[in-house]
Amino acid sequence: MIKRVSILGILALTLTAVETALLSALGLGGGFYLSLGVLLVAAARAGDIEGAVVAAIIGYGWDLFSGLPVGMSVAPAVAILVVVRVLSQGVEIAGFLQLFILGALCAVLHGACCLGMIVVSGSAVDLSKWYSLGAIVRQGIMAALVAPPVFALGEWLDKMLVKERGELEVWLS
């Protein structure tokens, strides 16, 4: 019943864990939002609730594996999903170019949201080095590059393992 949420959630957490390990092992400065592609899959294939839960898991993973205060990325991730779903009314979430642009947009949105939350909360956590404007743009480009292949992987898994759309909605109803 919650197969899609589990599959996409585990995939997102795994990708985030892999990403953070890669960043550490390779000594890279900024992340590349590997799991954004999964968020795009959720936006494209899952129902509203399923997608929102998957987005919340993705945001939770970002916080958990990045050492951020848990909750900081959850609301932005769900908000990003909502934005993407709204955009999907006019733009099909498929094809390299669309995914490239959406990936970049999602990364920039997440960065902007985090900056906003830091400003609003007056957080003691020094996130300025991660969420400076330059870093947001750089991460946007990286996210744009990795979004299409990760989307393809997530979509393939979803098609393989989940037959119907909106299982959670059915269960809740």
């Binding site: 390990a21 129902g47 929102a52 594996f65 939350m117 609003v120």
Partner: protein
């Protein structure tokens, strides 16, 4: 109430997923790095993946950088080996140049002492089997004034004579050639004889020495000046053995050429000698 939830369930769930974490974050209930039980459980589940990725990346880095390092060391090793070979070659060349310098200095001194017109020439070819070669080719020819029959010498003594010459080369029949016959006298007793080649580079025979003449082992034989080829007084060979037979006109013996014919590198060709030989004094003081 429940029907309202069912009607707006998507909106409510999504709103809750945005609002609750936002409120929790803004309330500051958890600091960065502070983890609850669920957080720890999730990290515990996924930490093996992170370890595996880190181990793989570090392993790949170790292999890659180790390989590059080894490649670098190998390249450096090759360069150093090449450098060593080059330096060795240079050292050998330096030795060779020094030896050549000594030889040429000796040749120049000899040439000045000789007082005859000479053409210094380097050996450019010898027979394919040096031990049996009876002629050499020098790098000077008729363009340098060399002509057929010109004597060829070194500071140590007679080498042979020119038997063929071209524009930039000349072939020299060595003393060891069986066709070579050099009239000599003993520097000690003035006994006349002929040194004839045998084909052997290290030994020649003494011929046409009267049986009663005084010749003994160790005698130095110099050119007699007769025959019109070689000037008088050039060292030719040293007597090694004398064989006197009880009958006959001549005694025979074995002599060894003073010049090592197997190790020639530079020679002097006496040019235009025969034309004025009548007036020539002995070119080397006999007995010196």
């Amino acid at each position: 109430m429940f029907s309202i939830f069912r009607r707006y369930r998507e909106l409510l769930v999504v709103s809750a997923l945005i609002a609750l974490p936002l409120l929790l974050f803004l309330a500051g209930t958890k600091e960065a790095g502070e983890r609850g039980v669920v957080d720890k459980a999730v990290i515990t589940v996924f930490s093996p993946i992170q370890k595996a990725v880190t181990w793989t990346v570090h392993g790949a880095q170790d292999i890659w950088f180790g390989y590059l390092y080894l490649v670098g060391v190998r390249e450096e090793n090759k360069e150093l080996r090449a450098e060593i070979l080059q330096l060795r070659s240079l050292a050998l060349q330096a030795d060779e140049v020094m030896l050549e310098n000594e030889r040429l200095r000796e040749l120049v001194d000899f040439k000045e002492r000789l007082g005859l017109e000479t053409v210094p020439a380097g050996i450019i070819a010898i027979g394919a089997v040096p031990a049996f070669s009876r002629s050499i080719r020098v790098g000077k020819g008729v363009g340098d004034g060399i002509s057929l029959g010109d004597p060829v010498i070194t500071p140590k003594g007679v080498v042979g004579r020119v038997v063929a010459a071209g524009p930039g080369w000349a072939d020299v029949m060595l003393l060891s050639d069986p066709n070579s016959a050099v009239p000599v006298v003993s520097s000690r007793t003035r006994t006349r004889a002929t040194v004839r080649g045998t084909g052997d580079m290290t030994t020649a025979v003494l011929d046409h020495a009267a049986r009663t003449d005084d010749l003994s082992e160790g005698d130095l034989l110099v050119t007699s000046g007769t025959g019109g080829i070689f000037p008088r007084g050039l060292p030719v060979a040293e007597v090694q053995e004398i064989r006197r037979r009880p009958h006959g006109m001549f005694q025979r013996g074995e002599v060894s050429p003073l010049v090592d014919l197997t190790r020639l590198e530079e020679v002097l060709v006496l040019v235009d000698y025969r034309e004025d030989q009548e007036d020539m004094p002995p070119v080397v003081k006999e007995g010196s």
